[in-house]
């Protein structure tokens, strides 16, 4: 099998090389022979997917059959490893994860090349760009990080998978994140192709819109799965620690989010062309940087599962991407002239512009914070880390401003909005936000929380207020539009809202995404009201935290082929009434030399999580040390992510065809067109 894998990787490299070189020749020739060459280049690009797929299959087969003659399998698997984790071995180490990158890239390329009829010339150019990226990754897996290296001596068992990765979400989280990272290659390829060709118009944006949304969806889902994994496995009680590798996944997410908003200005008004092209270039570079940070070990992180010289290759690749983008931008920048100008600061355009500036500001802050240890080492020879206080100080105000814009933007008109329209649109959402703020403030005060004395809690209160504003805005958008359709079709409001959404899935799916985002924000704001306690608990000992009482009932030790474990059984009472039993555990994985992993016990409700961690045993008393944390509103984060996924799914669905509605009253023919919603004058 290693032979088949190695052969397929070399063959895939040859196919990608052919796709690129012949693609360039075909683009230069522009004749019938050129077209025939372009067709073979397209097919070679598609075939490269099958070659990489077979190579990846060969590696998975080696993992499933415990073929420890393959060095990669020896280092990342062992006989006792459960089946699904053996499958996950494909992306658990350096070599395998780069093979996985190459596989996903060729899969995206396969779909892109398959759908070439959408615009043959543009797709041919984009396919060429994608082939160039494929060549880089295939060179890496063939010559720098080959996953099919053979061991000199055959070992009886492997070193095992990193224990931190032996968790169900870790089987899904990396593929999701990689699908996001790799997915941005497609809009990048189209953007660069359109710039190289001086392609007139915004069709490349229409073509890549769904690709970009899919990549964003995978990034969002991947990041949230990672956050949930950190919450459930790392046992520190949080879900986001501003770890460099976490940040690396956030960077392309922030710039893709900015792109998804600013691209609407190009589609609607022909504005911000330079900005959009550079946003997508930067997004791709950030996704490569993310892979560099995760795989090179140049920054210390709980997620850095590899340390190698591969970073030099990625740094070189980043430099090449930047130079190529800059060269074609300088040559063809006149092609990216805006067709319209910003007419007013109080308009939809300006809200998108500020949204973009804030998102890029956040991106810049996270990038600086992430690279600060490297920069400080270069300048002062000391590795200095910027921790959570730095990020919270910068990111919380930016986040609140973004939520404010999320609430305000949809209510502003394109071009210009008058004071009259502002009053008309903001009265209800602003009142709702203020009422909720007062009610929440009162409830907290009654519970003894003096939020005005704590900056974090003040920020949380602002987050609740602004989230209400967004929810009111989104609701009013659905209701206003639904009423128009209700009256038009003589139906009820729900049917009207359904018709409204079906006719503009992107816009109303986007509103559902905004709704999901504010649920996440409410969940994040809950962290300002956390409580925690750490205590040794013997049998029958009690510990009180908030309204909960925990009583130690039993302690157990266990052992199986993969790991040994220690656990505590605790009875939980709330306000004096029995609630549940919790069983926090600590596992020691044998193949990794007894590396410990926490299995957190969590009683989760919409209001709060009771999060209990087994911290180990006191060697003097042999009693377990238990850490207990009350995390308010955490579930809102996971629910919010599901709503975001639902909203993005909605936005990906094509619009329904226009309905024909019989006219019930005499309307001048000049005032209505066949699509029923076209205003007078549109056909002039």
């Amino acid at each position: 099998m290693p032979l088949l894998g190695s052969f397929c990787l070399l063959f895939a490299l040859a196919l990608a090389g052919y796709c690129f070189v012949v693609g360039v020749v075909a683009a230069v020739r522009k004749d019938a022979i050129g077209y025939r060459l372009a067709e073979t280049a397209r097919r070679a690009g598609m075939a490269s997917f099958f070659a990489v797929l077979v190579a990846a299959g060969a590696l998975v087969y080696a993992a499933l059959t415990d073929d420890f003659s393959v060095a990669y399998i020896l280092h990342h698997s062992n006989r006792a490893l459960p089946g699904p984790y053996k499958f996950a071995v494909l992306w658990s180490g350096q070599e395998g994860s780069i093979l996985f990158w190459a596989l996903l890239l060729s899969a995206y390329g396969f779909v892109l090349r398959l759908r070439h009829k959408v615009d043959q010339r543009l797709v041919a150019m984009a396919s060429m760009v994608l082939a160039a990226i494929q060549i880089f990754f295939l060179i890496l897996v063939n010559f720098v990080a080959n996953p099919f290296g053979i061991m000199d001596r055959l070992a009886s068992d492997g070193n095992g998978l990193n224990p931190l990765l032996q968790y169900p979400e870790m089987v899904i989280h990396p593929p999701m994140l990689y699908l996001g990272y790799v997915g941005v290659s497609v809009p990048f390829a189209f953007a660069l192709a359109a710039l190289i060709m001086r392609y007139p118009g915004e069709k490349w944006i229409h073509i890549t819109r769904r690709w970009t949304m899919v990549a964003w969806l995978f990034l969002t889902f991947g990041i949230s799965l990672g956050a949930h994994w950190a919450y459930a496995v790392l046992g520190w009680g949080g879900y986001w620690g501003w770890d460099p590798v976490e940040n690396a996944s956030l960077l392309p997410w922030l710039s893709t989010t900015a792109f998804l908003h600013s691209v609407m200005m190009q589609e609607k008004r022909g504005m911000m062309k330079v900005w959009n092209v550079w946003l997508i270039f930067i997004t791709f570079m950030l996704s490569v940087l993310g892979t560099l940070l995760t795989r090179s070990g140049i920054v210390s992180s709980v997620h850095s599962f590899a340390q190698s010289s591969i970073g030099n290759w990625f740094s070189g690749f980043l430099a090449i991407i930047f130079v190529v983008c800059m060269v074609f931008y300088v040559r063809n920048r006149d092609h990216l002239r805006s067709e319209n100008k910003l007419e007013s600061l109080v308009s939809r355009e300006s809200s998108f512009m500020f949204n973009n500036l804030l998102l890029l500001g956040a991106c810049f802050a996270v990038l600086c914070g992430t690279l600060f240890p490297i920069l400080s080492e270069l300048v002062r020879d000391v590795k200095m880390n910027l921790g959570a206080p730095f990020y919270n100080k910068v990111m919380v105000p930016i986040g609140l401003s973004l939520i404010f814009l999320t609430g305000v933007g949809p209510l502003l008109a394109w071009r210009n909005t008058s004071v009259g329209s502002i009053k008309r649109n903001f009265a209800i959402p602003a009142t709702a936000a203020l009422v909720i703020e007062i009610v929440v403030g009162f409830v907290l005060y009654k519970n003894g929380v003096h939020f005005w004395a704590d900056m974090g809690q003040m920020y949380a209160m602002m987050a609740f207020c602004l989230s209400t504003l967004v929810i009111a805005t989104v609701t009013s958008e659905f209701i206003r539009g639904g009423i128009v359709w209700k009256n038009k079709l003589q139906t009820n409001l729900l049917a009207g809202i359904y018709q409204l959404s079906r006719r503009n899935m992107r816009r109303y799916g986007g509103y559902v995404v905004h709704f999901g985002v504010v649920l996440v924000v409410i969940g994040l704001a809950g962290a300002a009201f956390n409580q925690d306690k750490e205590q040794e608990i013997g049998k029958g000992d009690k510990v009180q935290i908030g309204s909960y009482t925990l009583i130690g009932e039993e302690y157990t030790d266990d052992d199986n082929a993969n790991y040994s474990s220690q656990a505590a059984l605790l009875e939980v009472y709330k306000d004096g009434k029995f609630l549940t039993r919790l069983n926090p555990e600590e596992r020691f994985f044998k193949a990794s030399g007894g590396q410990p992993v926490h299995i957190v016990a969590n009683h989760s409700t919409l209001r709060e999580d009771l999060y209990v961690v087994y911290e180990g045993r006191n060697p003097d008393t042999d009693h377990p040390i238990i850490k207990i944390i009350i995390n308010p509103l955490v579930n809102w984060i996971w629910i919010g992510v599901l709503v975001i996924v639902l909203g993005t799914g909605m936005a990906l669905v094509p619009n329904a065809a226009p309905v024909s509605v019989p006219l019930r009253s005499a309307v001048a023919v000049s005032q209505i067109d066949e699509r029923g919603m076209q205003p007078a004058g549109a056909g002039k």
Partner: protein, 98 residues
């Protein structure tokens, strides 16, 4: 299975796989469509559709009560002027071509 036989089978699989892929890549295509070079006129037609779509959106938002009459009139005039400019350029390019 004897490792030598297994190796031989794998080598045969590699050859068959490579041959299959090469036949797929170089098999003559019956499709002779070379794709269309996008012109300025085609782009202007796209732009025209976008401006009409913007007008429809504007009309819908006005009907839903989001804008005052004065705002609506101003924005509609602006979009109509943009549509008129695009139509004039299309007409000019098409008459020059004819």
């Amino acid at each position: 299975m004897n490792p030598a036989i297994f190796d031989y089978i794998i080598k045969m699989v590699c050859c068959v796989f490579a041959a299959g892929i090469l036949i797929y890549v170089f098999y003559p295509s019956r499709d002779t469509d070379t794709g269309v070079v996008k012109t300025r006129t085609a782009y202007l037609y796209e732009r025209k559709e976008v401006v009409y779509e913007n007008l429809r959106d504007l009309s819908f938002e006005f009907k839903s009560g989001k804008f005052t009459q004065a705002d609506y009139d101003g924005m509609r005039l602006g979009l109509e002027a943009e549509a008129a400019r695009i139509l004039a350029e299309i007409e000019m390019l098409e008459s020059a071509k004819a």
